[in-house]
Symmetry: C2
Subunit: 202 residues, 2 copies
DNA sequence: TTGCTACAAAACAAGGTGTTCTGTATTTTT
DNA sequence: AAAAATACAGAACACCTTGTTTTGTAGCAA
């Protein structure tokens, strides 16, 4: 790829990312991106058709990268047993996030977080499907499989969101424990018969 | 309230709701709302400062109404036990949705569903806090309470979303069962010691 | 009736969008 | 190295949307 193209593209991404961390997506105007990236108006439109496509491309780069890395992990043997969830894909994702690769945390914590959490969830679903559902690991005679795929993805993304709202004070291990705790229901497809009601009673 | 004001306000809401069911929120321009509501430009701005405030007011009317109704239910005694979850607030919410009061389903199913699901979740959180958390029903020694509030709210909204995506083919009772199934973990704050791993192994 | 209020219509400036044109610099091809 | 292709800058543009202002009319309430 032409060195000029690459530089321009990166300048646009950088400017856009900065702006997204500062203000609402809807309030960002193309001219601001152009000014901050210090490029010509024509150049921007030569690279991206609209602001929406720019966002799409940015997200694909960001989450594609994170998820692909997680997918590349040795898999198929993520066992949950108290204290030894070291090789969970989820723990790995959290650790990856903590590193703040490509300043993704600024985006996930900004006022635009819903946009990015949506992309995150969308990519995570693909991961859940290929890593778990496709291997029959999400079979449950009481619940539809796609309901569970959506459930697991949402729960994880919401866990990440909660973590970010708490300024990531907890360790990735602690957060993984929280998540696995609410996922525990997946381990026992049969309703437990007579367990003591100790907390919530719906 | 002046009869004219009321009529205008309703005409704007009606036009806006129609447009939201048809196209993306960002692509709706004020002039379209004005044209469809058949009012003067000045009149619109006399009622709503911006399109965003219009959306906010609409959502407050819609979800405030639904949640308030649910809050008005006799509460404090929603017990889960197989087959008798008839008086769950959640079941009641689903039944209320099914009635499609104020055409809320069109909005929740439209391409703008994320906007409305967000408002839904926000109001639902308040309900969860006042109906459950404030009464100590969400205490769990392993998980923070606000984590659980967010978890329950998200899980329910995602369940509703899943239901809508499946054209609401299942009965509210079935959906309530799905939801309560994944909420089951809240009933047993202690990790079960040695249950057989039958399905997912994270 | 007398105000008061809501509304309509038209015009307006300001600002954003996406395109076109011209000319220059950089990269790639021959 | 020369030639051709490509990426870019800058300016101008037609067009659209926004939110306000102005003027005049009709409905409502005291």
């Amino acid at each position: 790829m032409d060195r000029r193209q690459k530089k321009t593209r990166e300048a646009i991404f950088r400017a856009f990312t900065q702006l997204l961390a500062e203000k609402n997506y809807n309030q960002i105007v193309v001219q601001e991106i152009i000014d901050r990236a210090d490029i010509g108006r024509t150049t921007f439109y030569a690279h991206f058709e609209t602001k929406d496509y720019l966002l799409k491309d940015l997200c694909e780069e960001l989450f594609g990268h994170i998820i692909d890395t997680a997918m590349g992990l040795p898999h198929g043997h993520y066992h949950y047993s108290c204290g030894t969830e070291q090789d969970s894909v989820f723990l790995h994702l959290l650790q990856h996030l903590q590193k703040n690769d490509r300043n993704i945390l600024e985006l996930l914590s900004s006022q635009n977080n819903e946009i990015f959490l949506r992309y995150f969830k969308s990519n995570l679903k693909k991961l859940i499907v290929t890593q778990y559902a496709a291997k029959g690991l999400l079979k449950n005679k009481n619940l539809p499989e796609d309901y569970l795929v959506n459930y697991v993805s949402s729960a994880f993304v919401e866990t990440v969101h909660w973590w970010l709202c708490h300024k990531m004070e907890q360790s990735p291990e602690t957060i993984t424990q929280y998540f696995l705790a609410v996922m525990e229901v997946l381990r026992v497809p049969e309703s437990p018969k007579a367990l003591p009601l100790e907390s919530a009673t719906f």
